[in-house]
Point group: C2
Chain length 758, copies 2
Amino acid sequence: MKKSGIIQSFILFISLFSTIGAQCRAIDYTSFVDPFIGADGGGFVFPGVTMPSGMVKVGPDCNNLDQNAGWDAKGNIVGFSHTHLNGSGGGCKYGNILVMPTVGKVDPVDYSSPRANETAKVGLYSVNLTRYNVGVRISATSHAAIHEYTFPQTDQANILFDMGSFLSSCERQEFVGSEVRILSDNEIEGYSRIRGGWNFSRAYTVYFYAKFDSPATSFGTWKAGALCPNVKSQFDSNEKTGAYVTFNTKGHRTIRMKLGISYMGTNKARHNAEEIASWDLDETKEAAASTWNKILGQVKLDGGSERTKTIFYSSMYRIFFQPTDFTGENPLWQSDKPYYGDYHAIWDTYRATHPFINLLRPTLGGKMVESLVDIYRFDNYMPDARSSNDNGRVQGGTNCDMLIADAMVKEIKGIDYKTALEAMKKNATVPPGDDERKQGRGGLWDYNRIGYVSTDFERCCTRTLEYSANDAAIATVANCLGDRETYLKYKKKASSWENMWNPSIESLGFKGFVWPRKADGSWVDTTRFNVFSSGSLTSPFYETFSWEYSFYVPHDMKRLIEKMGGKEIFSRRLDAYFTKSFTGSRDDLLYYTKLVGMCQISNEPSFLAPSLYAYINEPFKTAKIVRQILSTQYDTTKSGVPGNDDSGSMGAWYVFHSLGFYPNAGQDVYLISSPVYPKATITLENGKQIFITAKNASEKNIYIQSCKLNGKPFNNCWFRHADIENGANFEFVMGSKPSAWATNGALPPSMPETEIEH
Amino acid sequence: MKKSGIIQSFILFISLFSTIGAQCRAIDYTSFVDPFIGADGGGFVFPGVTMPSGMVKVGPDCNNLDQNAGWDAKGNIVGFSHTHLNGSGGGCKYGNILVMPTVGKVDPVDYSSPRANETAKVGLYSVNLTRYNVGVRISATSHAAIHEYTFPQTDQANILFDMGSFLSSCERQEFVGSEVRILSDNEIEGYSRIRGGWNFSRAYTVYFYAKFDSPATSFGTWKAGALCPNVKSQFDSNEKTGAYVTFNTKGHRTIRMKLGISYMGTNKARHNAEEIASWDLDETKEAAASTWNKILGQVKLDGGSERTKTIFYSSMYRIFFQPTDFTGENPLWQSDKPYYGDYHAIWDTYRATHPFINLLRPTLGGKMVESLVDIYRFDNYMPDARSSNDNGRVQGGTNCDMLIADAMVKEIKGIDYKTALEAMKKNATVPPGDDERKQGRGGLWDYNRIGYVSTDFERCCTRTLEYSANDAAIATVANCLGDRETYLKYKKKASSWENMWNPSIESLGFKGFVWPRKADGSWVDTTRFNVFSSGSLTSPFYETFSWEYSFYVPHDMKRLIEKMGGKEIFSRRLDAYFTKSFTGSRDDLLYYTKLVGMCQISNEPSFLAPSLYAYINEPFKTAKIVRQILSTQYDTTKSGVPGNDDSGSMGAWYVFHSLGFYPNAGQDVYLISSPVYPKATITLENGKQIFITAKNASEKNIYIQSCKLNGKPFNNCWFRHADIENGANFEFVMGSKPSAWATNGALPPSMPETEIEH
């Protein structure tokens, strides 16, 4: 044994010892994570390998390339690409820098393979490619991947790099250009340039650099499908190019590869590849698992079943996939601010994902928000969604406003709130014109002139409702910053939703619904529109319908309840929403829609609704519906997420409610639902802890009977962020029957009537 | 002598023989070109080397880097960069991939040098860098440059590549990122990424690859000013990087370098470098001169002075600098259409530059227009200006509409006119919102609702006037395509300028001026605005004033003349414009403004005015003012262009009027002025010729006494494109006194009253 060998063995020994030691001390929360939960059935969960906010999301892409996260339950594996989104709906994005091991003659067109023994863990994806009898293991750091291919014994063990491959479907990505260059017998680099996709983005370029642990024996490239053996490089003529390297594995069967990607250039990709320090894939895998374990370990659950914990930690894991940290990878401007992307979309994530990040990791949450402000500084508008370095597309309102307000009221540091308010005011005042699906507020001219978005513009009802909530967010931030004029102006505008309230519409005995209205003030006729009318971009209600979204006035529930006829009617109306059947056209709904009554629990417009009983002091009704959804709509299967995971949104909803509360985003308010676990301990970034004990909690004992907060009786069904930001001790007692607990408590705040004193 | 040597000598012999043969046969028109005319004095003419529409525009950049074409009359040379614009005003663009030979210790910060013996010819720039005693010669193909540096005898002869250098001034370009990599002892590559500048563009990346004819003896790189000897590459961390290679020139003193650039990638840049086939710079120089000579030779002038011919061919040369041909260099989308850029701006070039290209080189003109249509297809709007792959910024109207109409009425092939009309209609119907300085029509909401752009929007008068002309262009194209509904709609909208006509404004005895108007219909008070009020982006009149731009109704002069009070008053009013003094604030005008009376001959809003006497049958007045401008406002000095050359606009004005006519762009109409040369022969692309003889023409004999067209008396002071597109023979007789020629002819058409029959 050489000296270096002895040292290596010693290091291995120490390393094993440390690992064992750590296992003795700490719980491996990653063992509860099943990355495949939600990968199928419309969840589009990304089952490959990623670090928290990781730029590299490496995983398999399957035949047809029309699956949003690359992976598909059926069909062949085409290869392993390095960029993905988690849980996105609509058209695909990414799937760039596809690598595939093959055996035999190189075919640049037909190289996909059936698979066997596919497994996914935190930090590791593995599979056997049965066409070639190649074993694949992949792990990753934030900006690089390590691949380990175990080939059969052959002198034609190839690795293909296809710069012409990318995910595509409706709203498809389009190929723009590519280059490849073989640098030496163990190095290769290149790029793939793509445009379009879900957010109709400008062209973006993903560069790569890869290095092998063994020298290749031969190589070649291709362009527009034509193979060029021994040709080292292909230049960009807006054609698809690729390259291959061939190894002799008759002796040593395993080939390892470090691959760095970059949005800047190939030199940067090479620099990023150096993140993989060792050729030992397990070291990278362990480092990834260790990083994830620190995050997951911020919530410790006692009691509860293996099943629920698996759903819980798998859900919590996905919350931290996106937005992606592109800091140091911004090809658009020079800045010392953080640069996050893959806000996809904030319409989805402002409701639960970001509030959860703001609770557990406020420094990270602050970076995400400050990144939005920097995008405004250099790219004109804050995004509602942003991928591949381009804003787009807007779902409804400018819900980045909600993120700013959420951060502001939770006093998150590191954000230039003054500039943020300027960006919010731009949202509210400068029409984006032709770019209204890209950024800003479409139909703003109407909204600011006649008080609502008329039917001259698409998504008129969704927009009016959300702009009202967004204006409340602006008022909130202005209030905190002591800008009285702005506060008063936007507080008033936050009532704009009332201009779309049609008191004459009646359904199931309830009167008054948000309704599409023409620019002249008249209402759309009921023969042309009904309370279940739904649709996508061009519909008055975006991915929802009037019955559902007429509940969406999160900033002024007091006024909404008045409009609906008072508490009693509101209560019955919510009951009806969760129990009466949807009688509209199923064809209008998203194909994967799952309904609980009329509630589309599979999509974000429903997210806050189960908690709204808090505004009429009926927490037991919230408890019932929330626990019903948790136990019936989520499971541990590949179809275990009820809708598109939407960058962890479905996961965040599950996690919050499992802990027993849910945020009203943009406010410092959490609404209590029903804690699932006998004990949950949340460790905050500042080291303080939130203890949530729920005595007698079980599948049956879902109703809170009593509560103490920090030892004192607590009889409100909501609390403020300030109540928990420095730790808290909730002691719930649960029972199987609804109780009177909190039915006479103070109500959660509605749009503040007075401004903060400065 | 080796066999290859014999063959080379033979080829050289043949080549020399052909060259001599050609010289015996053909005139060297390039000998009349002085690339320095207009380089100084605000002309911002680019004096370096370019091919027609060439992507590489290689030339010196001087201290402070605040000169729009890089070159400055004073100060040191910083280096030679490969991208420039010609004659642009406002903020700088480009100046990328700067290379500088130095001697001695490498200093990545202070390396500029004084100069001596600076010369510029078509296809060749040369200079001595006196700090280093290095002789520099540079030539170029379309996508590559060849540099030849003659060093003193030294072992420290360096070539520096500064990826952090770029042109900058007001509306400045900002640095984004860069990389460099030394590939071998005679190869280097890298890129520079810049954003902003005059058109506030998104980040763009210029890649390069350079190869030397001798091996370097040492090398190094730098990053953020810190020198890294022997370090081969620097990755992109949004910092400025650079590289140097050092040669020993104690033996062979001359180092040659081929440098290709690309907007795609480094492999493409390498491919482009191969355009330079030989290390003999003179071969590249001769090829460039030969290509230029073919274009310049399309106009043959007999008679006239060396001075006027020098101005003429130097002006004609610059017409073909831009738009730049980026076909094959589009990093934004895949298309089989031509891809031109550096429309900078169409507001400048639609008036004369493009009509001249459409006359001489309609295939080229068609490619430029089809490129605009493709930009609409993939990038949302046709541009008014576009540089570095991004639209922006709009000066006044959507004058791309004028280009479409100009091509349509001249029946230029290769254009998808149907899609072009769709793009024009988008200009006229979809407000660009926040992007209104980038593309589309700002204030469109007003224009379409109340019939003019109100003072709520900037540039309200310029916009309303130009939108009216643009709408006439839309009507023209719709008419040609048989789209009656569109034709009638836009013909009506083409009268919108009348809504800004304030009949009560009086100046110098003339009544009725275009005037800023509020949204409520009231006029801006004369205490706040006057007929000389001028300004830039935020002013009602953009770079002009009411006295001047109230003449701008190119599509309906008949109606304008009525509004002004009839022919007699109109004639006196034009006289006053050219003779009475400008009595407004000079501070409001552009710093380089040159006035003839009130006429800012140094800027485009004046361009058509001298020809407007044609609309009242007073061609002799046009002759007088045009010849006055030609002889007093242009000369052969470095300050010989009266304003920013604006992508050859000043040159095109000179060339047209020297030939004796000037286009009313967007119409098939040329207005006759006063032919300068006894004989001019224009050879069209189809081989047909236009002969313009002007018997007795001289500096004094400027008035047309009679005219024959194709042997028949011709008594109109205008003609149609159809009259010349297949050749023509104009026989003018000139005299020193105004004559009655054409004073009773048919008037040029105003907005057509009836649509074309289909």
